[in-house]
Every structure is written in structure tokens, then in C-alpha cells.
């Protein structure tokens, strides 16, 4: 099952999104929040993200959802620090963080491949709200 990591500058946001997506996903779905700094301040921490990616991985790859630009920088750094095998199995989605995570969690929890989970996350950009 593809694991999902949610990277936000805010711990509350990352946790909240994981909780929301978990309600739509199958029970075993890995949804790991990597939000805020270790001291609780706003920001992103590449080591925290790296640990979350490792925790989310169960062999089928990891989708990482990010909020703002600097979360991408920290996530790319986190990915660079992974060992080569896992590195090739991690994708940072170019997708809205909340909408993409919810859609991707549904897809991942029914056992879809990383490619298809990423496509679903990125497809969430096109979901219409009204």
C-alpha cells in the first residue's frame, strides 16, 4: 500500500489533513503528518519529513503532499538524504494539499500503485467545489 506523508508549515494543518483523509481511507492506510518544527513553531524540518517518509514506506512507495514552496525545498532535501532505493519510490505531488491528500488516500487504500495515487492527487486540482 502506498504511504502518504503530509508536509505543512503548521502541525495543526498536517495532523488535521491526515485525520480528515483517514476517515475516507481504509483502516491500514499510512498517513503520516510532518508539520511544523520540533519546537512546535511554524516551519518545515527536512529531518522530520525524512523520518515521516521512512515511516510511511511499506515497500510500495510514498506520496508526499506539501503546502507552500518552502515545504517543497525541505521535502526535496529530505528525499535527497534518503538511501537510493527509497529515493526512487518517493514522489512529491504537484497538487493542492488537502484536496489531493483526501483523494489520494482513497486511491492508496484500495491498493493502487504509486503512479496512480500520484495521478489521483494531481487530478484533485481539477475537482470542482461548486
Amino acid at each position: 500500500m502506498v504511504g502518504i506523508v503530509v508536509v505543512s508549515h503548521s502541525g495543526k494543518i498536517a495532523e488535521g489533513i491526515c485525520e480528515l483523509a483517514a476517515q475516507m481511507a481504509a483502516p491500514g492506510q499510512k498517513l503520516i503528518a510532518a508539520g511544523g518544527m520540533t519546537d512546535g513553531d511554524t516551519g518545515t524540518d527536512a529531518y522530520k519529513i525524512q523520518a515521516a517518509i521512512k515511516a510511511a514506506n511499506s515497500g510500495d512507495g510514498v506520496l508526499v503532499m506539501v503546502d507552500l514552496g518552502s515545504a517543497v525545498l525541505s521535502t526535496e532535501l529530505a528525499v535527497d538524504m534518503l538511501d537510493d532505493e527509497l529515493k526512487g519510490q518517493v514522489v512529491i505531488a504537484d497538487a493542492p494539499i488537502l484536496e489531493g491528500t483526501v483523494a489520494a488516500a482513497v486511491e492508496a487504500s484500495i491498493g493502487q500503485s504509486l503512479v496512480s495515487v500520484v495521478a489521483t492527487a494531481e487530478g484533485a486540482r481539477e475537482l470542482r467545489k461548486r
Partner: protein, 210 residues
């Protein structure tokens, strides 16, 4: 390693002293935290350096700095400066003194790290607008046979002009890009901290020479 550590201590002092200034600059075009971020980072660096047993070379000092900034700065500047220090550390691995050639290589590696990480180019209103002209000035003087401190002094002057230049351009990378044209007229906080780092290292090198 005492010198390298002392240089980092000097950086920490200057960053912390400019906490408000950097934060104010970021308030105008970003999220008002660059000084806070950098201060949190360099305070952590300071305690790490105080706690660590023995660092065998300059590379180890810089790697520790980079890794600490990565995990404590929080903003875009964290992975950017973190990567810069770690790339410079690779050049300085096994070294206990820095000569002018090595300084140039470290400088180049650091900028390369920032570019790889941030995918920005000069003119996007980032730290690169201070660092790239500074590096150019450095190497230009180096080929003319200038001393390390001479090169650093001119590099710092170029960084200062680069900071001024950021006032005239539109931000297209980082948070300031949300403002589009309205970012014109404001000085980039990251370029400013880059200038401060360079100015501090220059002053430190001059002091060492005396």
C-alpha cells in the same frame, strides 16, 4: 578548528543582532520570520557547537552547521543555507586551514547548493542576487592575484550592491512572489542575510590576518 568555530560564532552574533531587521524586511514581502528563523537556527548551531566533543576538520564544523540549520530554521532559508553549508563542508573535508583557492571552491559549492535546492537564478530577488555577484567579484580579484581578504572585501561590496539591486526587481521565487510587482521597492531579506554572512566572514578573515 578553533578558527572555524570562532567564525561561526561571529556569524551567530551578527545574525542574532540583526534578528529584528531581517524580520522587518520579511514582514514587507513575506511572512515576517526570516530573522526569527535565522536566529533560531544559529542559536541551535551555537548550542550544538558547545555540546559537541571534538570536530576533526573544517568540513565537520560546516556539516554540523548545515545539518543544524536544516532542522531548526524552518523557512525556505533553512534548506537553502543548510545545503550551502553542507556543500562547502564537502570541499573542506579533512582540511584545517582555508587558502584562497579552497575559499573560492567552497563559495562556488555553497552557491551551487542554493541553486540546486531553490532552482532560482539571479534576478529573482533572492539570496542569489547578493551571492552570485559576490562570487564573481571574488574570482575576478583572485585571478588578478588579490589576497583572500582582498577578494573577500570586494565580494562583500558586490553583495551590498546586490542587496540594493533587489529593491528594484520583482520577486519570482519564494513567498515574496505572491506580491508580484508589488514586491518592487523592497529589499530581499535573504539577500540581506547573505550579505551579512559574507561581511562577517570578511571581517573575521581580516582580523585573523592581523
Amino acid at each position: 578548528m578553533a578558527n572555524a568555530i570562532a567564525a561561526i560564532e561571529a556569524l551567530a552574533d551578527v545574525i542574532i543582532a540583526n534578528k529584528e531587521k531581517l524580520t522587518e524586511l520579511d514582514a514587507a514581502i513575506g511572512d515576517a520570520d526570516h530573522g526569527i528563523n535565522m536566529t533560531r537556527g544559529f542559536e541551535a548551531v551555537r548550542s550544538k557547537l558547545a555540546a559537541v566533543e571534538q570536530l576533526k576538520d573544517i568540513g565537520s564544523v560546516l556539516k554540523l552547521v548545515g545539518m543544524t540549520l536544516i532542522s531548526t530554521v524552518g523557512g525556505a532559508s533553512g534548506p537553502l543555507y543548510g545545503t550551502a553549508f553542507i556543500r562547502a563542508a564537502a570541499v573542506a573535508q579533512g582540511k584545517t586551514v582555508i587558502d584562497i583557492d579552497m575559499a573560492a571552491q567552497m563559495f562556488e559549492a555553497a552557491i551551487g547548493g542554493i541553486k540546486d535546492r531553490g532552482k532560482a537564478v539571479r534576478g529573482e530577488k533572492t539570496m542569489l542576487d547578493a551571492l552570485e555577484p559576490a562570487y564573481e567579484a571574488f574570482t575576478q580579484e583572485m585571478v588578478k592575484g588579490e589576497s583572500l581578504t582582498g577578494c573577500l572585501t570586494l565580494a562583500t561590496a558586490a553583495a551590498a550592491s546586490g542587496v540594493e539591486y533587489t529593491k528594484t526587481i520583482i520577486a519570482t521565487k519564494g513567498r515574496a512572489s505572491y506580491l508580484g510587482e508589488r514586491s518592487i521597492g523592497h529589499q530581499d531579506p535573504g539577500a540581506t542575510s547573505s550579505y551579512l554572512i559574507l561581511a562577517t566572514l570578511t571581517a573575521f578573515a581580516i582580523e585573523q590576518e592581523v
